[in-house]
């Protein structure tokens, strides 16, 4: 059993985040992946900093553009640095990530929605003060 396990090693159908299969890829390829990631992340960062201070684009679109750029950069980090990919050997990692993203979105959207609603429905502070007198 352990013998067949040894033979199967290069064909393992599982993979951990952050791990490159050196059976398939030389270290030079792993280095190339990190370099591509660094280049893309640097490009997205520079665009983010440029867009935040520019008057070239319509003002209200800037926060949306910043959020889109940040999400793109997180994707670059996940793929090129953490090596979370859509390959068949990465299903477990992707499922865990999807669950994490779901919780994060529920937490952020839920908090902002509830608090905005409370703010909207709360009486202005000076009227509350008048009721006490």
């Amino acid at each position: 059993m352990s013998d067949s396990g040894q033979q199967r090693e290069p064909y393992y159908a599982d993979s951990a985040p952050g791990y490159e299969h050196f059976d398939d890829h030389e270290p030079a390829e792993a280095l190339g992946s990190y370099l591509v990631g660094l280049g893309l992340a640097a490009l997205l960062t520079v665009v983010s900093f440029f867009i935040s201070g520019t008057t070239l684009v319509w003002g209200p679109s800037i926060p949306v553009a910043l959020i889109v750029l940040a999400i793109a950069q997180m994707g670059v980090h996940l793929v090129f640095f953490l090596n979370i990919t859509t390959g068949p050997d990465n299903v477990n990692n992707i499922l865990a990530l999807a669950f994490g993203v779901l919780i994060v979105l529920l937490l952020l959207a839920g908090s902002l929605w509830i608090m905005a609603n409370l703010n909207h429905n709360m009486m202005p502070m000076d009227q509350i003060m008048q009721m006490h007198h």
């Binding site: 951990a16 919780i103 994060v104 908090s111």
Partner: protein, 215 residues
């Protein structure tokens, strides 16, 4: 023939087809894969914790109580330098993980040392920024906005501090014990931790600094 036997038969016939499950039932994944997956789940739970701090910050960002807002406090040039430090340190951390797995000492120690210096530079700039803001009378007790700001960014800073301690521990362990399988698994986990801190920093410099300074 049961479904399992059919699958096993298919696997024998097409051993090089990647979409066919390669492992038969009962055969275990290697320890490195299990450790990496478990640590990935911990990191996701850490990201969920940070998202709670982000939600708090977003709710309280306008509650300045007559005190200074982000636009008056933030210095984007400092933030750009911090971002560059952390991004480069993420890259050198990747180089260190290649060095560890190919067991090349000069790569591993050199890249880990570079990661350490860049991380320390990031922390130094952040602590200086915090000290400057507190000296202006805008400490965490000044307003709800500043409480949320110090909690969110300070929690990330604490993670970086812990990461630096872990980094030096890993260098010492590889030096003392060599490239043993269990040590390499710890190096893998450290790399994941460090890359995740950079992902959280992307969210911080976008939501806190860029959107705060541009309001």
């Amino acid at each position: 023939m049961s479904a399992f036997e059919a699958a096993a038969e298919q696997e024998r016939e097409f051993p090089d087809r990647r979409h066919v499950p390669e492992r038969a039932a009962g055969e275990r994944a290697s320890k490195r894969i299990i450790v990496g997956y478990g640590f990935w789940i911990f990191l996701l739970s850490d990201i969920v914790m940070f998202s709670a701090f982000f939600a708090t910050y977003a709710v309280l960002v306008d509650a300045t109580a007559g005190g200074p807002s982000g636009r008056e406090l933030f210095n984007l040039r400092n933030v750009a330098i911090e971002t560059a430090c952390l991004l480069l340190s993420s890259f050198t951390c990747g180089l260190a993980s290649i060095g560890a797995r190919t067991q090349r000492g000069s790569w591993f120690y050199g890249a880990m040392a570079a990661t350490c210096i860049l991380g320390a530079a990031f922390l130094f700039i952040e602590v200086r920024e915090f000290a400057g803001v507190v000296a202006q009378g805008a400490g965490p007790t000044r307003s709800a906005f500043l409480s949320a700001f110090f909690t969110l960014v300070g929690c990330h800073g604490l993670h970086v501090t812990a990461g630096l301690l872990w980094l030096m521990t890993m260098m010492a362990q590889v030096f003392a014990k060599g490239y043993r399988a269990d040590i390499l698994r710890r190096v893998l986990c450290f790399g994941l931790f460090w890359h995740t801190l950079d992902i959280i920093w992307v969210a911080i410099f976008t939501v806190v600094y860029l959107m705060g300074a541009g309001q």
